[in-house]
Amino acid sequence: MRKIIGLLSVVLLLIIVSVANAEIIIDRQVQAELRVILEKTQPVYHVDDEKGMMIFAVIDKWVGERMNLETAEKHISKDKQSIAYSVRKITGDQPVTKLQEKSAFNSFYLQSPYKRRYIKDVTEPVKIRLANNVVEKIGREFIREHGFCQETALDIMAKAEVIARIRQKVFEKETLGEKLVMVQNAIFNRKIDGLQVFNSRQIVGVHPKSKEILSYKTLNWTPLKEDSAKKMEYESLEVILDRIKKAYEKSSDTFDVSKISAGMYQQSGLIFPVVRIKANPRKEEGSIEPGRKNLIVGLVKDLDLELGSRQKVMQPDSVKESRN
């Protein structure tokens, strides 16, 4: 009996090896980096929901001074998790029709769990482009002046990345018109004890000519309870490596880890240590471009997190005729 089981195990192992032709190459240097990350255990924090709601109340008040939330059109998301307020743009002296009522708004505010987004919808492209450090300065001062972010020695707004929204006209002679700037966004990352919280962001949209704040968004940036810091046991290097490998095992391509970064992640009322892995596929000439994904792997053992996708997952149908 033992022989049969042993034989079956070997066959099963061979099948697994032959099917799983994907590979992620984690070279010695990356493994060494990972080992260093795991040796320096970072604490897990609880977020301070009460302070978070107080900040949201401050944001609500600021938005309320820009658009009337009482009279704004309200839209509740299908999953009942978000509420959007919009004030529509009524143009010219045309009669207000049903379609026009639903046309572009000029102010928009979306409240969803751990997220607030205010946008003033302005289409005013200009030739002026502010230096990135100027946009960052405007954005940082705006957030600080209004008290939209609780910064401490431990929990800070890190350097911003500035991304502009550009538009250019396309001509028949296959040239593009000059670059016009719609808005410049300062995207602030959050750092806790020097580690970036990968899913926390505050974004300030600045119009380059008027320097008016066109948008403000805070995403998963809830103050933390510093006294809740608790060092918890980390997973072993082997477990982390196994998780990384598992995330790529269904691919038929070979990937090389190109970048590994220690950081934090805010989810389920906690901020906890993670590692972010970026990997590049080995693309052979003439082959299709393999998919890329960044991977965030939790480092702490036995965290109590909400998992899985939000709603029902449905499989696509096979091809059939279009209808209408």
């Binding site: 379609l99 639903k102 919808d121 006209k169 396309v170 691919s251 471009e289 998919g291």
Partner: protein
Amino acid sequence: MRLSDFFLIISFTIYLISSIGCNGITIKRDPFYPKQGDTIDFTVEIDDVGDMTSSNVWLGGQHHTIISSPKHIPFPTCKYTTNQYFTSIEVKGDVQYFDVSNNDTYGPETLDLTTGWADYENTSRTYSIYVAHEQDDSMEDIFVEAASEFINEFGSFAKDQYQWAHPSHFNNQNAADMLIFLGHGNHHHYQWGKNNADAIDLSTTAFGNFAFCNNYSDVDYLMFFFSCNLLSLDDFDGQHFSYYWLNKSSTRLEKRPFMGLHQLLGFRTLSVITESCFGVCSDNGDDFFYTLAEYFDTGSQIKNSWLWSIGDELDQSDGENRGAVFFNDLYEHDTVFTGEKDDYIYASPNYYGHLWVEYHE
């Protein structure tokens, strides 16, 4: 008024009406507002054919001698079969009678064929969403979850199709107003299947009311999620990026995606999902589509919704996930609540002069 005067006026009125209706030439057409690609069915009607000495009709410069009435003349304008690029047609005609005082003319009338309205351009607003089969099953799972998130959350359009991506979605008419494709990509290519050969060269596809001759496509908004570099602004194979998306004089007889398309939305750089694995894995593709649905449903511009959702939910570090939108500014303010609009093709004054690209930099 005397009774005799009254009858005189009535008789004169009847004579006038009958004289208008009885002698002359009329050229009717179906469809009444034709567009390039239609076979226009012209019907020439001559009054009192027996009293006619001759009649001529010119349709797009082609001469027809009319000897009977009604006379049906089909006029094909499909560029693929006629090898001609019709932008307009001049319609005119004349008729001569024995009694020369009854001679009549029709036109000239110029029909603009570069502005179009298709039968599918109706009030039912629908979308279809297609997921590519992937070499990597885990990526396929990510796309299916993301697509499901959009279907679950988006409420303003009715769902038409939710299918595995297939070349027929590019080569057949499509009745939906909005198409969303998930899958890998490259400069003007979408990878619909697992094999190297399973890539669609999008420069050979057409969308909008002019996409198919005598058939109708209603696609206004075309979106590609997770398709790396698909909307790259770089030159490719010695050609400017716009060569692959727009018709111009030298390519006017070929297909291009902008044949009535309002907006093309995608990524100009690598598009990378971030998967979070804490026990089981989830990803920010879900967050992107949830947010996109929210922006759409609250009446944000289509274009803004796309670019905002990318900036809000995707990781833009290291130059990744830079969104891009190629659009005609006549549709710039379109939202999912915008009503139906005319479509335009190359040579229309509403084509070049109105085309823009907007992107993250």
